[in-house]
């Protein structure tokens, strides 16, 4: 059963890697990296279960926290990059962009 779990995790890693490869936007690549991190943590736990050695178990805690920090930082970066410029070019700029004009 451990082998089946590893095979499933390899399949998940291949799928996330494919989305990381083709992902059209930066957000797709970010969620692909997040999924790869989740897959890696799961593989780490399964390896600890298989061998009975818990030396790498703290990596699961650290990886979850670091993954949260990296994801939120990239989300802030995407928001700040796509925010409107400080000085709009002319009249109608704020009304022409629809729902994002509230920013």
């Amino acid at each position: 059963m451990i082998t089946a779990i590893f095979a499933l995790l390899v399949l998940a890693g291949v799928c996330f890697g494919y989305r990381l490869w083709i992902g059209p936007t930066v957000v797709d690549r970010v969620i692909a990296v997040d999924g790869l991190l989740v897959t890696g943590v799961a593989a780490l736990v399964v390896e600890a279960v298989r061998t009975g050695v818990g030396a790498f178990v703290p990596v699961a805690v650290v990886a979850s926290l670091v993954g949260f920090v990296s994801t939120s930082v990239v989300a802030r970066y995407v928001e700040a990059r796509d925010r409107q410029p400080l000085e709009p070019e002319g009249p109608g700029f704020a009304s022409g962009t629809g729902r994002r004009s509230q920013r």
Binding site: I5, I31, D34, V38, V45, G52, G54
Partner: protein, 104 residues
């Protein structure tokens, strides 16, 4: 112990379903949705199932701590990602029905 391995297997299946959703869905918000929901439950099941069978008590407590951190952080990061997609102009955040965030 066979029960915890079954729990880990269910978690791995959920992670695979999340990855299939990330590959197959054709919208950035849909892909975010697939990853956040499915993989958060999947990794929590893997961590809890692993905490039953790993050797020492400290290791299982640390796996449960990792599960708690996942539960706390994954919805927040998913919300941040979804908000970034919605507010960015060059990513298609297509909403099929009523856009309830239109005036926010």
């Amino acid at each position: 112990m066979i029960a915890s391995e079954i729990v880990i297997l269910v978690g791995a299946v959920l992670i695979v379903l999340a990855s299939l959703g990330v590959v197959r869905f054709n919208d950035t918000l849909a892909r975010t949705h697939a990853l956040i929901k499915a993989s958060s439950l999947g990794i929590v099941l893997v961590l809890v199932g692993g905490s039953f069978v790993v050797g020492k008590a400290g290791d299982s407590a640390m796996l449960l701590l990792a599960a708690v951190f996942q539960v706390l952080t994954v919805p927040v990061s998913g919300h941040l990602i979804g908000r970034a997609v919605y507010r960015s102009r060059d990513i298609s955040a297509r909403v099929d029905t009523i856009d309830e965030l239109a005036d926010h």
